[in-house]
Symmetry: C2
Subunit: 317 residues, 2 copies
């Protein structure tokens, strides 16, 4: 059982403010419990659905003595603290990461590279920095260009978990359980940092997969970015008169269109080349389908439907 005591303030080694809470564990018998933590301090920048779920999972699994949430809004961080997603918080990246051994950047993709660089610059020389961004190549290129040698301590990650919902209030401790996390080291990545990042995701219950950043972006264009843009275009193209009559089919097919347009614009922008490739391939199959429909080629049309069913059935419900 975890119990949060009233908040108080401590200062870190640089004398900067981290708002913290007494953090104690009790056994069911009520005795004070002594736990050996894998990490003393983890910092999470961006405590939304993903960052909050990482915090919840890491605390539930007793992976860290303290988790410092970093964000702009103290009120939201207080909420995340109350939910048990973080033990402490800071509204400033420097303050939040200074004492962390593991720093996870969970902000929208267009902020990630800059914050990774900042975290590498101000953290301990052996701290590991990773992220949870939906794109990889552009972020990693930018970190390598700007962070110099320190870039070896950055290990790109992408947990394939999430939801069209956002915010720490939707965070759940089992978000990563049995889900895939793609880890994208480069030849410059420190092997220890890489190994410890992989172990961290595995300790949250995830399966890890190693890929190059380019492979990651190509695969995610097909599995996530293209489905998102199609769902959005379908929802946008549905005539007003038809909306009252949608059923489960339309609702399933368009579900991800409820995602944040600003976040998704950033993702599509960062992965522009691969998304274009993927969209262009989709358009060519759609064109075959469309021609079959126009020209009464019902056999061809049935074959495309059958291939779609085979691919879909292979992946469960």
């Amino acid at each position: 059982m975890r119990r949060f005591e009233p908040n108080d303030f401590t200062t870190n080694r640089n004398g900067q403010a981290i708002r913290t809470c007494q953090f104690s564990r009790q056994t069911l018998a009520g005795k004070q419990n002594s736990v050996t933590y894998r990490w003393d301090t983890i910092a999470i920048a961006g405590v939304g659905l993903i960052g909050g779920s990482i915090g919840l999972a890491a605390l539930e699994r007793q992976l860290a003595r303290r988790i410092i949430g970093i964000g702009r809004h103290p009120q939201k961080l207080e909420q995340a603290q109350a939910l048990g997603a973080i033990t402490d918080f800071a509204t400033n990246l420097e303050d939040g990461v200074a004492e962390a051994q593991l720093i996870i950047i969970c902000t929208p993709v267009r902020f990630i590279a800059q914050q990774v660089c900042q975290a590498l610059a101000v953290s301990n020389g052996d701290a590991i920095v990773t992220d949870a961004g939906s794109t990889k190549q552009q972020i990693i290129d930018q970190v390598h260009q700007q962070a110099g040698e320190a870039a070896e301590r950055f290990v790109g990650s992408h947990p394939l978990a999430g939801s069209e919902k956002s915010g720490a209030e939707h965070a759940v401790a089992n978000l990563f359980l049995n889900r895939s996390v793609i880890v994208t080291p480069t030849s410059a990545t420190n092997k220890i940092a890489q190994q410890q990042t992989i172990e961290f995701w595995q300790q949250l219950g995830s399966r890890t997969h190693l890929m190059t950043p380019a492979e990651h972006d190509q695969i995610l264009a097909a599995t996530s970015h293209l489905p998102h843009l199609l769902a959005s275009v379908l929802a946008a193209a549905t005539p007003d008169a038809a909306l009252p009559f949608v059923s489960t089919g339309w609702l399933d097919t368009t579900r991800v269109a409820a995602g944040d347009p600003e976040l998704w614009t950033q993702i599509l922008q960062q992965n522009q080349t691969e998304v274009r490739q993927s969209l262009s391939h989709f358009q060519s199959v759609l064109e075959q389908f469309s021609q079959a429909l126009d020209q009464d080629q019902w056999e061809t049309l049935a074959q495309i439907l059958a291939l779609g069913k085979t691919q879909r059935d292979a992946l469960g419900s």
Copy 2:
């Protein structure tokens, strides 16, 4: 509490075989209960997900004394009987509908018109025939052409409920609860038949909507047939290498692609003109999106995503 007794055989007024079971109701106190049923006999041709769910719902709501399931496979009908979806069955349409006051054709769309005509021809002169087909105009045109005056007793229906699953084993009594059923009478439709069909769906817990067959087909092209074809094409177009990395987004967006390719080919064939219109409109919005992506018009792209989100959010999760 409903109890099924061992099956036995009776004959209908024409001396034809209907396999039936003793059907008795007991109150919780164990007393034999006398129920006044809205319908004595309902016949359901095609006892799959939709037909089976109609049977379950009608029996649960005590709308009929007996429900005769009609199909080609006695084994499947026995299963549906064991599940409580029908009380009796026949493997021949004539035998099954002869004594029914309400006949519901729930077979794949390409069989509906022919079976409606057959049911109109061999049933009592005041029996009502309806269907559950996903398309309406072509079916109704064909019935009017072939059934002559008897066509006045046919009232086209389409319950907007279903699933990518099929078969009576997936039938559920609440499939129609709070769901929409579109009823598509024509100027030739008998007003009493129309009213009784509407009441039947309402008694299953559905909201009914009146439309012309053409309006129905136009709306369904946008809300159901287009989403289905896009989901199928997306699933078919996903490269094999990407499939192991799909997440909830892809799974939601492609869920309906698991539907039966043969059934869906029939639906797209029957609603060819409206599906082409709907697909063409979708393709024009997709083309705008694609151009915005190619030409770095992130504002335009964000606007389409935002419109998609607004339309999706309005319809719940």
